[in-house]
């Protein structure tokens, strides 16, 4: 039992967990016919229940999971995979139907209309009643958390943001607060709102499909599942005191130390590469950083326009295309920064603490 726990502890390290999850997502999309079928669901979800039940016996895991405020996240652990699986299964079945020429599931019933009263209203009433039952049950069983009275002098370690912002707090490990806390959330909101104006693909409007909208779905799922939900789960369960990483079965020991050996890009370039001291003038010192960042935001759109995204460029038109690529680059910057941090301990690409401007 201990060895399994240790294996899981090591497996759930952020670098491994996120890479595995991304691989799992893309592989499952590729072999969606195999993954998203009832049998897989019948196997997968009970397995998760069993795994969760067994894990409950480990008191560290129990401690984290049964913390009152973590209950919704445990719920999300089940809900999000279920609904992703369900929508992908619908998409697969619809795609199979379009291939075989039969009308879509939704198409069959689009024509006939039913009276709202009683069908819709009645079912809504039942849904309301059921949901109230769920809520009241949940409220009775689990009391709302109330810790000791607020004390400005005592900073709890770890002090976490509310659970739905833990994704942002996790981003703080890799980016400075002005990026992770303000610019990226802004871009997420604007990006989400801009999706309909960027996605000009007419197909897939009003029914589950994957084949016809594979690109949009994969981007959305990657952004939502991996970069938001997974980070929330990681931030909730796997981040302990001093924001160090702790495996699900690891005791949250405040004295645990992680070697802070991250180095800026300017260090790498001037000290490690050229072996000379870091120049005093900020601009010169960070010139490398500026070059990399500008290059990142200017070169790929040009290159992609001529290569992979050639099709997009044509039917999106330059304005929409550049916005889309800029947003994609911003979204991709997070995983890239993560990889750089895991592999090369890279802290800042541009590091100007004097003006609080670090990327």
């Amino acid at each position: 039992m201990e060895t399994i726990k240790d294996i899981i502890n090591t497996l759930t390290a952020p670098e491994i967990l996120i890479t595995l999850a991304t691989i799992l997502l893309f592989v499952s999309a590729k072999y969606r016919h195999v993954f998203y079928t009832n049998t897989v669901a019948l196997v997968l979800f009970p397995a998760m229940f069993v795994f969760m039940a067994i894990s409950m016996f480990d008191e560290d895991f129990y401690l984290i999971v049964t913390k009152p405020d973590n209950v919704p996240i445990v719920g999300m652990l089940f809900l999000i995979p279920f609904f992703t699986w369900f929508s992908m299964r619908e998409a697969v079945r619809n795609d199979r139907r379009t291939d075989s020429g039969t009308p879509l599931i939704e198409k069959e019933e689009t024509a006939d209309k039913v009276l709202t009263w009683p069908d819709l209203v009645y079912t809504e009433l039942i849904a309301i009643v059921l949901l109230t039952v769920l809520l009241v049950g949940w409220s009775i069983l689990i009391p709302a958390p109330l810790e000791e009275s607020a004390n400005p002098a005592a900073t709890p370690n770890p002090s976490k943001a509310p659970w739905y912002f833990l994704g942002l707090q996790e981003m703080l490990v890799y980016f400075d607060p002005w990026l992770a806390g303000v610019v990226f959330p802004g871009l997420i909101i604007v990006g989400l709102m801009a999706i309909p104006y960027i996605d000009t693909n007419p197909k897939g409007n009003g029914y589950y499909t994957f084949k016809e909208r594979s690109w949009e779905i994969m981007t959305f799922l990657f952004g939502f599942l991996i970069l938001w939900v997974l980070l929330v789960i990681l931030g909730t369960f796997l981040r302990g005191p001093n924001w160090n990483f702790f495996g699900p079965y690891e005791y949250w020991d405040t004295h645990k130390l992680e070697a802070l050996v991250n180095v800026d890009l300017s260090d790498y370039f001037w000290v490690r590469l050229l072996g000379m001291g870091r120049p005093d003038n900020i601009l010169i010192r960070e010139s490398v950083g500026f070059l990399v960042v500008l290059g990142y935001f200017l070169i790929p759109p040009m290159v992609l326009a001529r290569t992979i995204f050639k099709r997009f460029y044509e039917n999106l038109g330059p304005a929409r295309y550049h916005i889309m690529v800029f947003l994609l680059l911003c979204m991709a910057s997070l995983p890239i920064k993560m990889v750089l941090r895991w592999l090369f301990n890279l802290k800042y690409i541009i590091g100007i603490p004097e003006f609080f401007f670090n990327i």
Binding site: A153, N242, T254, P353
Partner: protein
Amino acid sequence: MSKVNPPLRAAKPGEPADAGRRSFFSWMSLAWVSFTASMLAAGTATARFMFPNVLFEPPLTFRAGRPEELQVGIVDERFKDSNQVWLVREGGGIYALSTTCTHLGCTPNWLSAEQKFKCPCHGSGFYITGINFEGPAPRPLERFAISLADDGQLVIDKGRKFQQEKGQWELPGAYLEF
């Protein structure tokens, strides 16, 4: 604001074609200009409303006497109880150390005999610079922003703290050359 579409019927004799429009134009534009101006004024006033003029918080910045009063190598404990800050003057300048132990928040004592800060709770030890060298404390003591006021007095701003492990002790404000 509805677009002004050209009048369909011919202007009545004696009435200059654009007379209506000019007087008509001036009133409407004046109306809308002053209306938007009032909305803007009201908007800025409401925004200003959200910034309180007076703070009821304990002051984070305080004045800590004159730099000349400090001797090199001697830890000044005058402000330890009132403001939870030690003032240390070394050859090149002065810095303000927080009295909160980075282990679990107790208040260490300065042992001048052994030239170190010793935390009574779990035995963490810190050099005079604040660097931790013994006991469970994971990080050195934090330093507060220190500057010189215009009347020559030291000003400590506990709102801005500098952590050595993040390399912030070299930032401007963490150390006062004197």
